[in-house]
Symmetry: C2
């Protein structure tokens, strides 16, 4: 049994090491680390059940540092538990070191689950991890340490509402209420009652403590562990820069490393360097679900027209045979058709209500614990979660996203519901895959492929039904394309995807009837894109026209141009981009496509006038 003095000694060491690491780096956040040192000293000594040698053990508790800037504290903890050594600690923020400025999960530090540093993300992610444990019947818990500044972020409240609603009592939040944000007092300063009231109103159990009193901390953790009705928030009143006279509760010290001289003084005040090592409590033995079983997936097959959003839902339902697969939706499952998944696997369907940030965070947490999450909403509303998607890439997360209701083609609902920037947004996510199939069978195949893809994949789906273009036996490799109507005398190439492929095929027929032989490329894989086929078409035809139901910036047209130019290749073709350039209103899909210039008739017009 650890004594209070052991805890305090460890806490002092964590402060000292946080100072040493940040002073060695000449940057970082020592004072934000020091406020939470006692909280983590007690947690890692006696509460967080972790097999340090086997960070993937399914019975392990998990810890997330939501206030990612307090990374020196976490690295100091990792040193104390023997996960990293002092040299690694002192490589903090150095080029090439996995001990980065904000925590990032890398093979060298498998004790970090996810990247943090964009505030307000730890709680939603922790909720996802707690949900994964609950789905698996695991006895483990998730602990998430948050700062007080980030409690303004709405994403915290989306997750808190969902956590109590979904009954994840294995989730324990620790609020390091140190009163000072980056540039002065936080909104609520030390008003712990207010934080506790908010948590309770959101269905949480709340406990207020002195975050530097190790006995109180220990008692609060025990109470939280025993509270099985609801998740618990521990509101810990702390002091930023605690333990050092010239730092404690002083403004102007956020994100500032101490000089070597200041560090020496501070470390002396803290009682000097120590070399305490601890072993966290052993996790309960628990065998998680098999993650290697791969059942046969029988993807749906279409012989007639169908909306690609429906085909996505059907394919997702087929993927439910894989027990790793979970589906999340932002209360639009009857629009995205994730409801098809819910019908066959209701226990693995997670209704996240209208809270897209919370949904994405939960998905990141679920995949961190081995699940294969698909998250869906209108493509327009995924823009709500862009910061989470961006950060998921930093987390090296494997996420599958679906955005339905692409483009002006949704019709009457108007611009607020139209995804017109989703391709631009998703192309600019590191390592992403961006797919935009045009018919049911290609959508089914690509949805199936997403389950096995690494990184962040996005499938854009269309509201309306589209005709069958491909047999169910056809394959759709990521990075590939399909060429229609190619001939030796083609003058024009039309490049489309999704709904604009349908319009392009119609346009090509009209143009061909007028003697303008026209090839059509289905660029269903927007990223990576089939540069070879595009280059060949560019060299074989006079004009290459890219048509997209998306703003003219950042989407398929730009992807095609980039492919043609790549490597500094000689560009010797004419490329005409056609996309949405004015703000749409309401109307029928046909009216709006025609208005936007992306209907078959308008595509043919542009080809004629451009060739002239």
């Amino acid at each position: 049994m650890t004594t209070p003095s052991d805890w305090n000694e460890l806490a002092a060491q964590l402060c000292v090491d946080s100072i040493r690491a940040s002073t060695a780096a000449a940057s970082g956040h020592p004072t934000s680390s020091m406020s939470a040192a006692h909280l983590l000293a007690v947690l890692y000594s006696d509460h967080l059940r972790l097999d340090v040698g086997d960070p993937q053990a399914p019975g392990n508790d998990h810890f997330i540092l939501s206030k990612g800037h307090a990374s020196p504290l976490v690295y100091s903890v990792l040193k104390a538990i023997g996960a990293i050594d002092d040299a690694q600690l002192l490589s903090f923020r150095k080029f090439g070191s996995p001990v980065q400025g904000h925590p990032v999960p890398l093979p060298e530090i498998p004790w970090v689950d996810v990247a943090t540093g964009s505030l307000g993300q730890g709680m939603p992610i922790a909720f996802g991890e707690a949900l994964a444990m609950k789905l698996d019947g695991s006895p483990a818990r998730v602990w998430v340490l948050m700062g007080d500044s980030e409690f303004v972020e709405g994403s915290i409240w989306e997750a808190m509402a969902n956590a109590s609603f979904h009954g994840v009592s294995n989730l324990i939040g620790i609020l390091d209420m140190n009163r000072l944000g980056q540039r002065g007092p936080t909104m609520l300063q030390w008003d712990g009652d207010r934080y506790a009231d908010r948590a309770r109103a959101f269905g949480w159990h709340a406990i207020e403590i002195d975050g530097h009193d190790v006995d109180e901390i220990d008692r609060a953790y025990r109470e939280a562990e025993g509270h099985t009705d609801a998740p618990t928030l521990i509101v810990a009143r702390t002091v930023k820069g605690h333990g050092v006279s010239f730092l404690a509760d002083k403004e102007g010290w956020h994100g500032k490393a101490l000089s070597e001289e200041q560090a020496e003084k501070a470390i002396a005040e803290l009682g000097g360097e120590r070399n305490v090592t601890i072993t966290p409590p052993k996790p309960e033995s628990f065998i998680g679900p098999s993650t290697t079983a791969r059942p046969e997936i029988r993807l749906p097959v279409y012989d007639d027209k169908v909306a690609t959003r429906k085909a996505f839902g059907d394919a997702l339902a087929a993927l439910a045979a894989d027990q790793r697969v979970v589906a999340l939706d932002g209360e639009v499952g009857n629009s995205t058709h994730t409801e098809e998944f819910q019908k066959v696997a209701p226990d693995r369907f997670i209704e996240m209500y209208i809270g897209e940030q919370g949904m994405l965070g939960a998905a990141v947490g679920l995949q961190a614990l081995g699940k294969v999450p698909f998250a869906a909403t209108f493509g327009a509303f995924l823009s709500r979660a862009y910061d989470f998607i961006r950060m998921a890439a930093v987390s090296r997360a494997n996420l599958r996203l679906n955005g339905s209701h692409a483009g002006v083609s949704i019709g009457e609902d108007g611009p607020s519901q139209m995804a017109l920037e989703d391709l631009a947004m998703m192309r600019a996510v590191h390592g992403s895959t961006v797919l935009y199939p045009a018919d049911g069978n290609s959508t089914a195949k690509l949805t199936g492929a997403m389950a096995e893809l690494d990184g962040i994949s996005y499938l854009r789906s269309t509201r309306e039904s589209t005709p069958k273009l491909y047999d169910a036996t056809e394959e759709f490799p990521v990075g590939g394309s399909k060429t229609h109507r190619a001939g030796a005398d083609d003058r024009v190439t039309l490049v489309g995807a999704g709904i604009t492929l349908i319009e392009s095929l119609k346009a090509a027929e009209v143009l061909a009837s007028e003697g303008i032989a026209t090839r059509v490329i289905d660029a269903y894989s927007v990223k990576p894109i089939d540069a070879g086929t595009l280059r060949r078409a560019a060299s074989e035809t006079e004009l290459l026209v890219v048509v997209e139901d998306h703003w003219i910036q950042g989407g398929l047209g730009d992807a095609v141009l980039a492919a043609l130019a790549s490597g500094g290749a000689e560009l010797s073709t004419r490329v005409l981009k056609i996309g949405v350039t004015e703000m749409p209103g309401s109307g029928s899909p046909e009216e709006l496509r025609d208005w936007a210039g992306i209907s078959a008739a308008k595509i043919a017009d542009r080809v004629r006038s451009t060739l002239r």
Copy 2:
């Protein structure tokens, strides 16, 4: 004085007209309109002070329909107050009609302030309007009608926290708690106590009522009007599809128009069509601040190196002379340097704490009431508010955004803090202007220009100091560029902006010394971009290299390619895009730029190997 029976008659008419409009359109949300009919009948008859003939009158109260899908209700109200006629009402959702599927502010319907339809946005925007009134000393109020599904959206809670903190008691929220979302029961269904508890915990006054009892509604509005300590949330228990037996509280009716036969039955149950007209209460006479006075702005001048983020802050402080200008920041004002504005105009500096969605929403509300808002945070964290920025474009809002800490050049903090997708994100906003200046004087000029720009403008700023490149007398038109080192024998053109312009200039010097004459273009205006100058350079040099501290997708490189290709022009050049292609870690700015291939040395290497 209106009688309860008058209110009820009007409410019935609003239900009938909502049904008529949506049935005529064969789409729309009649049942979501009907739940709030009594709430708006009482509001517009006796509480919302509005000069219908002068919707811009500074003393007017303002109303925002946050649950934008209930647009038929608002249009029915506009008909009842004589703002639109029945024919306009029945043009609902038709192509070309301003009476769109979700409300959009258009010249034809000036009674709509902002676009809604992405849930959770009305409250943050209403907060911004309330703040504008408070700044002006206006006696007016803002009323915002919200749905219950959207109360999961974190943006609501960001705004609610800020509203109570900033003391805007002129803000009255009405929660139409109709229990049913798009696909079934909401998270909290009719648990009004829970909503009220949450509101109180967030510092609001809360009142629970029966949302179909006109007397209770009237009393609640009076109470809210009299409550001057805090904003008020009225939690109104309502019935979706109220008043019609086969719709009331029935699942499966979200977003569905009634058939003509169903409509006839429903209208009969509601007592048939009526032709009630009302005049809302007159606004208090109030003369707002002058919006035409344009003081002389003395922009800062730099003779030495400075960080562009500092120059932005200095220029913003200079703009404070214009009383319309307000600045908002997400608690990083000492990083973005909006603190310079705060120093000179503390009353017009609004600290929004760490809640980027709330910040953007507030900015939209402020501009709707004539302010000229600048909102700033790290460029990376603007991704948090992308849905708000997208919707601001639908609102035809005039917003000025600054994102600091661009690219890998921020160094040690690591990827979570690096804006690497901001150019892609902002280019894909309709009508946006995207600026990325490289030195202090150009930043000052462009920041000054932003104050007069329509639409959404974005200035990307750099963390490090950069050398002075331009004299303070130089002009920087939006859509322009600056060419450096141009000569008749140039073999190569380097195109950079911001930090990569600095690196490109260094690279050009090295290349020139080796006999490779190199022109450099400062593409400070990324959108609109100077296509003419780029085309000329492409035709005059063998190779055009675009260098950016941004993901290779969607940023400056794609903008340059699109400019060269525009109109289907013959492309006859080689374009090499250099940008960030791998996930960065920590390191010094110099190390990271070199690692990413965007340092002067690496640029020169790529030029040499590509020319070879």
